[in-house]
Amino acid sequence: EADIYQTPRYLVIGTGKKITLECSQTMGHDKMYWYQQDPGMELHLIHYSYGVNSTEKGDLSSESTVSRIRTEHFPLTLESARPSHTSQYLCASSDSTAVNYEQYFGPGTRLTVT
């Protein structure tokens, strides 16, 4: 079973606040990803990282930023939260040396901005 953790699991915050969603994995995976999941289910890639000090924007434009200073840690930051940021955020990781490079997902953070 994959060991990938996200905190907090639920967050309700007011408009304009700065927030950081944490994601950590203990598997030593080199690649990590952030997805935004609509209420209607679809997953959209918003950021990904190939390794330490490597980050790229995903297919869906996002006002969030990410950093990858350590292999196991891939936090996502919103400088000024808005109601339009209300969503579920899923972190994932994969190992590029594995046979099929499966992605393993964390449990998600459900963010509500009021």
């Binding site: 990938i4 996200q6 690649k31 990803y33 997805y35 209607g40 289910m41 679809e42 997953l43 890639l45 990904y48 995903g58 297919d59 899923l90 994932a92 994969s94 590029s96 099929n100 490079y101 499966e102 992605q103 393993y104 997902f105 964390g106 449990p107 998600g108």
Partner: protein, 113 residues
């Protein structure tokens, strides 16, 4: 631009029945096609996956059928159980080292007891 189209959006099946979810893709640069299962409040979990050089893969009650020429693949759940009630996502991974996945829009399956 949606590159992986999934249907149906929702599905209701009687216990013991067969659940079938379909996906179609356009980009031929995909090299790996997983299916994920997601329960409420949880992240998606890998269920079963297939490579395009294989036409079918079976794991227990779950089978993927893959039609490379039609660019379609489907998930079959045999003897569906109430515990299978979840949202299912198909996905396709880009080849070439980017390891980016494109997900379908999801199918909400409900299996009636």
């Amino acid at each position: 631009q949606q590159q992986v189209k999934q249907s149906p959006q929702s599905l209701i099946v009687q216990k013991g029945g067969i659940s079938i979810i379909n996906c179609a893709y356009e980009n031929t640069a995909f090299d790996y096609f997983p299916w994920y299962q997601q329960f409420p409040g949880k992240g998606p979990a890998l269920l079963i996956a297939i490579r395009p050089d294989v036409s079918e893969k079976k794991e227990g009650r779950f089978t993927i059928s893959f039609n490379k020429s039609a660019k379609q693949f489907s998930l079959h759940i045999m003897d569906s159980q109430p515990g299978d009630s979840a949202t299912y996502f198909c996905a396709a991974r880009s080849r070439g080292g980017t390891y980016k996945y494109i997900f379908g829009t999801g199918t909400r399956l409900k299996v009636l007891a």
